[in-house]
Symmetry: C7
Subunit: 95 residues, 7 copies
């Protein structure tokens, strides 16, 4: 079941800490406020200005991103736990 | 009795959890803050800029949407319990 | 005594629950936060942008509207209890 | 002693409840949050946009207006108790 | 020692209550929130918009003004107690 | 070691009360919320609008300024205690 | 593993107090709210206006900057502790 986030929202799959050692980021202690890492699954059309102008987002499906630990809302789609967040919750793109 | 939401508001029919297994989303534990699923019944003309420009919404009647569990206000129209919310409460469109 | 609401304000007559069964909306339990129904008596000229542009409102006298239960301020005009509210308090138009 | 309110401010003379029975508005119980009635004595040049554009106000000296009970600041000018408020405190114009 | 207020600030000399009987304003009870009266000593160049446009203020040196009792910050310049406030603290101009 | 404040920030050297008697300002009681006096050491390029337009500041190195007593952040540069603040913290320029 | 901060964010390496004596800044007592010093590692493309216009940042990789002690979020990239912050957290550039 596809899911199209609205406007400036992004659907993200959270990557667990172990998976990431190969990828170069070790976040051993998830208790601290360290950002989480994840992979972008789908992005909205873009943020909408007051006059209706739509501006595309700066992240795309497949990007590996860092985001605030408590950002977004958890949702289960096709049995998989994912997170819907705003692009502004994303701190940057890895790789 | 028709109901025309004003500006950027949307009228939504909440879909119960069971109904949705065929649709691909299982939200077994409604206690958690998981978003709710619903179907758009009617949409407003669009959001209105300060200079009066009206921008159409990005959801339409019939769309299956995910929205924040506590979003909007409940209303009974023609005996049916529905919810009036803002478009900004909607996280995305399914399918 | 006529009353001209200012800018984006609207004068509304609250419709009691019983009156509305014929009209199709049953709101049996007024304790819950269910919206109230009413009829628009008069509307302001419109909302005013910073540069002075005036944009007409999207409701007019005679419209049956739903609005937040605690919206607006009660006033008695010619002995009748009415409510002055902002257009943004109105959720939509019935019929 | 003349008094020129600045920008979007308005100088108002509060009309006592009794005076108003002839005028059509009875506000018997001043304890409740019912709006107050008054007469506009003087108005400012208008609200000023960020770029300096001045937009005239929609009320003028002599208008009978309804305003929020606690709006504005009391001042005594030439021995008379008056109120200085913003135009946005005024709900509408009577008559 | 001259003092040039910055942008939309105004330097004001507070006028004591007695001085004002001749001027027509009696504010006997300074305990209440009645506005204070004062004389403008110096004004800033004007308020600055985001794009740098400067808009002159609507009060000038010598104006007798009413301002909120607690507005601004007290400062001593050349041994005299004065007040620096924003133009938006000023309610209007007398005379 | 030079220090270039960013955007609309200003680097200020606080002038002690005694130094200022010659300069004409006596602020004997520093306990009260009286503004502090200082000398501008360096200024940022200017405030940046949303579209990138940069507008130069209205204070420059060498200006004697009054600023809110608690404004800004203390920093030690080349062993000297200075303050980094926003231009909006500055009330005006002396002399 | 490269890391591209998003929009107006900046990746910074915190410089410890000792390292900095050669650089001219002595911040002996880190308990006080004194700003921290660091080196910019990477910067985002720039801040994005509502209409999509991107404005480049005023700091670049290699700049030595002062920033608020509690600014930003700590992250570990390739085993190194770094900080992701907004450009607006940076007070100025040294040297």
């Amino acid at each position: 079941m596809a899911f199209r986030p609205l406007h400036d929202r992004v659907l993200v799959r959270r990557l667990e800490a172990e998976e990431k050692t190969a990828g170069g980021i070790i976040i051993p202690d998830s208790a601290k406020e360290k950002p989480s890492e994840g992979e972008v699954v789908a992005v909205g059309n873009g943020s909408k200005a007051e006059d209706g102008t739509v501006t595309a987002l700066d992240v795309k499906a497949g990007d590996r991103v860092l985001f605030g630990k408590w950002s977004g809302t958890e949702v289960k789609i096709d049995g998989e736990d994912l997170i819907i967040m705003k692009e502004s919750d994303i701190m940057g793109v890895l790789g």
